[in-house]
Every structure is written in C-alpha cells, then in structure tokens.
C-alpha cells in the first residue's frame, strides 16, 4: 500500500484523492510564490558553467534546465477549508551526450560548484552507460536561437490573487451545490507556474514562464431511500491560462443539447456546481441503459479523453519503438503501418493533428525542453496515418530533418523525454451543429464530459464512461440514462466516425496530470474537438449488485 510522493486527501470522490507533489518540492507561503526567481543573466552565467564543465568532461552535447516550479493547491469541502498547499522546487538538470550515450544528473545546489559537479556526474554516467549502449544517439539539427523568452499569455497571474478570494469562490460554489440538494461537495483549485531556463551547446538560451490553472469539484447526492449515491465532476477544463479562466464571462457559456450548460474560454464554477447537484438528482432517477449498439454523439468535453488515450498515446514514437514496453506499453500503430501510407486509422472524416502552440492549451510553449521551437503537424490526414510525435533523438527514424518539439520534463530533477503534444480532432468542413447532428440519429447516446477510462497496452481495446448520458430516439433527446460505458477498438472506432461538427463547436479540454515513464513523470496536455458522431458502437450496462 505504497503512496509515494502523494499527499492524500480523503473525501474527493468516493475514494481518496491523491495530490501529486514532487519529492523535491518545499512548502512555502503564498507570498513566496510571487517572489522573483533568479535573474536571467545569472542563469545564463551558471548555464555556461554547466555547458563548459560538460564539454571539458568529454561531452559532445550538453543542455541545462534551471527550473523553478511553483504550485498552489486550495482544497475545500462543503463549508470548510481542508488544505492550502504552496510548494516551490528549484534546481538544475543537466543532460549530456558522451561516447554516443545519454547521461543525466540533477542538483538543488544551484551554485557554480554544484552545477559543475552535476555536469561532470552526467558525463560520467553517460560514459558508464556507453559500455552497454548498442544504439548511439543520433540527433536531428536544431537552430541556434540565441537569447529568447516566452510567457503564457495570461491576463491575471493566479498567484497574485489572494488565497482568501480563491477560498471564498470555492466555498461559494460548494454552498451553491448544497443549496440545490448536494449531500457532499469537494472542490479544489490547482495552480501551476513553471519558470524554466534552458541552454544548450547548440547556442540557445531560452527563458520561459508557463502558467496552468484547473478549478474542479465533485458533487455527491445520496438517495437515502435506496442507499444509492451518484456523483458528477466539474465541467471546467484544465487550461494554459491565468486566473482569468474563472471570470465567468457570459459570452463563454454554451447551451448544449439536453439543456446542458457548458463553458468555453472562461468558467462559472458557482453556476456549474449548482447545476451539478440538480443533474446528479436526475441521474439517480434516470433509466438504466439497455446494452447494445448505439450511434454515439460525443461532446468535446468527453471526446478529448478518447483522443488522448486512443490517438495521443499510440502515436508517441518512443512507445512505438518499445522504450515504454515495461510500463505504459507499446503501440498498435507500428512503423510498417505508417510506411505503407495507406493505413486507415479512421474514416475520411478524421483529421488529427498535434500541436504545441494553441493559445490556452496546457501544452503550449514556444520551445520544448530540449530547445526546439514548437509547431503544429498532422498525425492522421483524411483518415490515413501520416506521422508520430518525435523528439530530437527520434526524428531521424522518420526521415525528418527537425524535431517535432514535444520534449518535456516535469521537474529540473527529471530527465526530459518525449511527451504528448496537444493532439486534437480537426473540426468538420461542412456547417453542422450538435443539434443538427442529433436530429439525424435514430438510436443513440449523447455523452457529455469524461468519466471512467481504460485502454490496453497497445491501445486497441478501450472502455469509456462519462458524466451525463442522454438517450437519442428518432433524432431527439429522450431523457437521461445511467450505467453507460462504451467499448471499442481504436481503428474500428475512428473508422465509425461519420460526422464532425464545424469549428464553431471546437473546444479544448485536457489532462492536468498525465503519467508516463519510470520513475513516473506527470505532464499536462490539451485535446480539442468539435462534437462528433460514431456509428454502431457497443454500449454496456455497468450496474451491479454487491448485496
């Protein structure tokens, strides 16, 4: 029963909620989160110390990341503050190639001596590992960018907002849910700021200031008579934005089919919490789904997770090559399928692209963690598999001349490796609204927001739940359903995609804590789509009795 590197919080959802905290993070006070980090000129001076030390130790390439990682988590339930966690983690990670092999070392001793020592240690590790290395590292070229910087285009730095305001907002949302009949409500605000400085022997000195925000909750309603309880999570999205995401601008509200209120670029947590309580009451008395084949109409707040699991992960080149075989697994999307240039990943409606630049997305940066300028590229074009996600030491395998720019490390103390870019389904080219889409469905289920999820280690077979399920009968919403999950096979599923709504319906959602690697690392990634229709998908009923 090991729960390493997690802070346990009882009460979030039915089980326990675990907050991921870096083992090197220190708790600090909220004010400290606003203290300026190290001056950029000093970072450059120290970076050069590392690069020189690495080179004089025999490294043919070296990079250094000087990282300051700040987190604030505000945790409440009903009318109580349970926890306020402020953490700071500061240190450097140095990666080198020596004798054709990678070596990595990190230290929290951010001094000339500490950094030089770590650089030498990285070179020594590389040389030691070179003895068993069978595939010398090959890097595609990267431009030398000189001194450059980037900041997430935030309007309000979340750390400048007093903690009291955040607590008050969460407690107001909790009260709104309780007023509407919730039995319990847990809410939490995750705020993250990565201040990272990158330099490499390629001649780039990159200073980036990245912000992410995620307000979320879980509302429980218990039906005393039947003893049944149901829950619903928040309809917020984790975003690459500042505190302006909580501005609740009326123009960002969307009324979706089934009179469901959804949100685009800003979020009304109080309104959503109240609606959640109302909807959970409806779920309790909803009809249990009849298992069978249905046409699924999947809302962007739901479809993002299916994209993440069935498209994002299998198209990571390191998985395809076997580097993740012992943990996350490999991939069905093998190189021969890509080389054939005619592998039908999906129907001709399906265009999937990777992107590290989308404004407001969790993955947006100007340069990745190995100093490559970020971009957008196609993965599946008109249904055909055309590319993967690859970094500098993999791109040559695809015959490409430059990296895709999707290298990431979750801390200065972690070694950077290939991580998922934002992977999204392109909107349909024809004008089509979700209402029009539903009007063409005879027997279907409309699913809002992600729920339970599971997929095999090569990303063939998956099962997804959701938060809200509506029965579609003869082109109309015919009431709420419960106990719904769908099972399919990735290729079969994407080939059953017959329609995608147009760009007016396109929205991002995403994962704030996506795990990969050994030792495990977390990353944040967004996925966009418009509502899409998938025909004849197998729906199961998940109701059971345990006495």
């Amino acid at each position: 029963m090991k729960r390493r590197n997690f802070v346990q919080l009882a009460g979030m959802g039915a089980g326990a909620m675990l907050l991921p905290v870096s083992p090197f993070a220190r708790t600090v006070d909220a004010q400290h989160l606003l203290a300026p980090g190290m001056d950029v000129l000093e970072k450059k001076r120290l970076a050069n110390v590392a690069l020189n030390a690495a080179k004089s130790s025999g490294a043919s390439y070296a990079d250094i990341r000087i990282g300051r990682y700040l987190n604030q988590f505000v945790v409440t339930r009903e009318d109580k503050v349970q926890n306020i966690v402020n953490t700071e983690s500061f240190g450097v990670g140095i990666r080198v190639i020596a004798d054709g092999t990678w070596g990595f070392a990190s230290t929290s001793d951010v001094t000339e001596d500490g950094i030089a020592k770590a650089a030498k240690q990285a070179a020594a590790i590389a040389k030691a590992n070179a003895k068993v290395q069978k595939e010398p590292v090959q890097m595609v070229p990267v431009a030398s960018y000189g001194d450059v910087s980037y900041q997430t285009p935030i309007v309000k730095n979340a750390f400048e907002v007093p903690v009291k305001d955040k607590v008050d907002l969460l407690l107001k949302a909790n009260a709104a849910a309780m007023d509407k009949g919730a039995s319990y409500v847990n809410s939490i605000m995750f705020l993250v700021n990565e201040q990272k400085y990158f330099a490499s022997t390629e001649g780039s000195y990159i200073d980036q200031d990245i912000h992410r925000t995620w307000p979320t909750f879980n509302v429980t309603v218990i039906d005393k008579e039947s003893g049944q309880f149901k829950q619903r999570g928040a309809f917020s999205a984790p975003v690459g934005m500042g505190y302006e995401y909580l501005d609740a601008r009326p123009e960002d509200q969307i009324v979706a089919p089934g009179d469901v209120m959804l949100y685009n670029k800003s979020y009304d947590i109080v309104e959503d919490a109240a609606m959640a309580a109302e909807q959970v009451k409806q779920i309790l008395s909803a009809k249990s789904v009849e298992p069978g084949k249905y046409d699924l109409v999947l809302e962007p707040s739901h479809l993002w997770l299916t994209i993440h699991e069935s498209v994002g992960h299998p198209l990571e080149l390191d998985r395809v090559l076997g580097y993740e075989a012992n943990y996350a697994g490999t991939s069905f999307a093998t190189l021969d399928k890509w080389e054939s240039k005619d592998f039908n990943f999906g129907s001709d409606q399906v265009n999937l692209f990777a992107d590290k630049t989308q404004v407001g997305s969790l993955g947006a940066v100007a340069y990745d963690d190995e100093g490559v300028k970020t971009k957008q590229w196609d993965l599946v074009k008109d249904g055909i598999l055309v590319n993967y996600q690859a970094i500098r030491d993999q791109a040559h395998i695809l015959g490409e001349k430059e990296s895709h720019g999707c290298c990431y490390a979750d801390s200065w103390s972690s070694v950077q490796f290939q991580r998922m870019a934002n992977v999204s389904l392109a909107p349909g080219k024809e004008q089509l609204t979700p209402e029009q889409m539903i009007s063409g469905v005879e027997k279907g289920v409309y699913i809002v927001k992600d729920g339970s999820y599971s997929i095999d280690q090569q990303r063939y077979n998956f099962q997804f739940g959701g938060e809200l399920f509506f029965e579609i009968k003869d082109g109309k919403i015919a009431g709420m359903l419960k106990d719904v999950a769908y099972q399919s096979n990735t290729q079969e599923f994407w080939n059953s995609c017959v329609q995608v709504c147009d760009e007016r319906d396109y929205r991002l959602n995403g994962s704030f804590f996506d795990g990969k690697g050994q030792p495990g690392q977390s990353s944040a990634v967004s996925h966009g789509s418009s509502t899409a229709r998938f025909n004849g998908v197998n729906v199961i009923n998940t109701a059971r009795s345990i006495g």
């Binding site: 029963m1 090991k2 009460g11 039915a14 089980g15 326990a16 083992p23 708790t27 006070d29 503050v81 349970q82 306020i84 990595f104 070392a105 590790i125 030691a128 590992n129 068993v132 069978k134 595939e135 607590v167 039995s183 005393k224 008579e225 003893g227 049944q228 309880f229 829950q231 090559l321 076997g322 580097y323 993740e324 075989a325 012992n326 943990y327 697994g329 069905f332 093998t334 103390s413 070694v415 339970s452 999820y453 599971s454 997929i455 095999d456 280690q457 090569q458 077979n461 099962q463 739940g465 106990d483 099972q487 096979n489 050994q518 199961i540 998940t542 059971r544 009795s545 345990i546 006495g547």
Partner: protein, 438 residues
Amino acid sequence: MAIFSKDEAKTILQKVISLSKADACEANLNGSNGGNIRYARNTVSTAGENSDVTLVVQSSFGKKSGTATVNEFDDASLEKAVRRSEELAQLAPENPEFMEPLGPQEYGESKTYSEATANIDPEYRAQTAANSIKPAAEKDVTAAGFLEDSHNFAAMHNSKGLFAYNQSTNVDFTVTMRTNDGTGSGWVTRDFNDVSKLDTAEASKIAIDKALMSRNAKAIEPGKYTVILEPAASIGLLQNMFFNMGARQADEGRSFLSKKGGGTKLGEQIVDERVNIYTDPFHPDVPASPWTQGGQARKKMDILKNGVVSNMFYDRYWASQKDVDPVPFPGNGIMEGGDASLEDLIKDTRRGILVTRFWYIRTVDPQTLLYTGLTRDGTFYIENGRIAYPIKNFRFNESPIIMLNNLETLGQQVRVNGNLIPYMKIRDFTFTSLSDAV
C-alpha cells in the same frame, strides 16, 4: 549523506521543539538515498541516483496551523523555520478538523531495514540489466525493465513529547519480455525490503518463458470464466478495495461499505467466509513502518475476518467525532492462503484461465466497487488440469467484492507490492470483450 542516525535526528528535532513558542509544534525529518536503472530494446536507457533530506516544522495556535520546510540544519536555519511556521500559523484560517499532536506512543521493533539493500550500487543495477538482456537476446526476445532501490529514514518529534524514528529499505523490480516477432509478451514483478531475497536472473527467466509460451494466442469468446489469478493480478483489485475502506466515506453514505437507509457494513459478512485479510507491520516477509506519518502506532489488526468486515480506517478527527479509537491506514495487507501451489491449482482445474496480471484498472462504479481493466503479458487457457494454449487478452468488468464471493480455492502466498497475497481460483469472473494487444 541523507540518512541521519536516530541520535542525529533526535538532536535536530529536540532543538526545533525547544525553539517553539506556539501552542503546539511538530517536526518531521525525512531523508532518502535512491537509485534506479531503466532498460528497453535490450539496452540501458536511463540510470540515476538521488538523495534528499527535508525538515518540515508545523506550528499551531489553537486550530490554526502553519508549515515551513528547510533542508539546512544549523541553529540559525532551524530557528528561521520555526519562526516562519509560527508566522504562517497566525495568518492561517482555522481548521475545524485540527487535532492536537499525539503524546508519546509505544512502537514495536521495526523490521524494515536491510543493509544489503542500502548498499546497492551502480554495478548491482547494471548487473540487473545484464541479467535480463543477455538471456533475452539468446532467445530472440527483447527486454524492457526497471529496478528502483531506496534507503529512507523518517523521524518525528512534537511538543507533547512524542518521538519516533524508523529506517527502511526497498527494492522494486519489473521486467517485460517481448518476443521479437511481436506475438508474445511476459512480465514479472518482485519487491523486497531485503535485496538478498531478489534474484533478477530467475525473475527474468520466468518473464522470458511466459513471453515464449504466450506466442500466437487464440481468441476465445468473452464471458464468465473460472480464473486462476496470480497475486500480481488480484493485487490491483484488492488494493482498490483497501483504499475504499475509510470509515468516514462509509458513514457519509458514499462507499461500498455504506448501507441502505444509513449505517455501515462493519461487522457484516461481505465476502466468502474463507477470506481473511489482516495487517501486520512486523511480519518478516512484508515489514512496514511501526508508525504512521502522524505518529500513530501500527499494530497487527484484522481487516476482513471470516469474510466479515472487522475494521474500517478512522483518522483521528473522524474517530473523535464517532467516539471510537482511531484506526490508521495499514502499512501492508496480508491475505491468508492455502497450501496449493500454482501447479496444484492448475492441475485441479478442468476449464479455466490463468491470468498473469491486470492492467489499467479504473473505477467504473464506486458504489459497487466495479472496476474495468485488461489482462496482460501472459493469459493462458487451462484444460483438463494443464495449460492448453495462450489466449488473447480480455477486458474485465468486475468488483473485488463479487470476486471474493466467488472464491473457489486459495493457494500459496506471494509478496507483491509490499503485501502478501495468495494465488486464487475464482469462478464466474466477468470478461466483457477481447483485446488484440500483445
């Protein structure tokens, strides 16, 4: 050096407490030395070492608390941390669930430290990789594995006079072996406090054998099957059950242990009467820390006895609300087994499925503890008392409660992920679809 002796830790912590001006003060000092090696494609991919030591000081005035962290231990740094935590406590909102620090406790003698594990060096890790890669390459198999070792200490002291100290070591090893034609995959997991019990060559051979045996699997129809679950398979479902045995959740009506109309299933039989699960931090095969993070003593204690819920877990606040003794979350889970070896269980099975492990287990319904996930890395059809052929992987939708009600036979225990779990034969295990994954 990140490992402080008991005396060194005590000296630092006593200084911290003596500096305190708060109503209550509690200090935790933790340190670790760790290392790892990762390999894939029959070559080493990453290797590293890390060490860290941290002091956390929590000061409280009434129900208001503040925390400060420091990693330097001279007098001035300690004083700064104490004063900072006091300032923050004065500014903090009241926590209605605040509990005063515990007074002195009595702890049993820890068995969690092994010198052999503390002495693991880069050569040992490199040899582990070689123990997998060399035999794999000889059989046209590709190895991907991970070994992680750690030596930790934890010490705490508070203004009520409680002092606790523990040293522990741990080593975790997993390896996946895949045949180079892509049709077979095997896996093995091992974990110990004492690395002298770990034989990575023997473990690697099991994974290679499974990979070779699982080539060219046949598809059989999903449905309800008798299964023999290796402990590495059942542990995922059992751990999820343990994590959901909190008393507060049950009392609040949002747990599988909540009862219709209120109340809980404490004292009620919920699974087969042959199911006995307990925790014992002093068990020689799966030792755990004698005390929890908050300083509560861990003891041997029943969780499920003859299929009856004997204990739910109460944190100190909830125990005070319910006027019961706190029951800390256990450091390990031990499920009693039987004498049957895996071979005996197979021999005794006319038709069934042998499952090596489950993968990607996620909650479907918290009320019934329904989980979904898939078999992986070695799934075999058993016919007339022997393994007949490998089969394609299945997705399951099953609850550990239903699983433990459908118990047929208990086999021998194996350590997995810090717990002792027996091989189990279960009837009517629900597989809902086929997977093409190898």
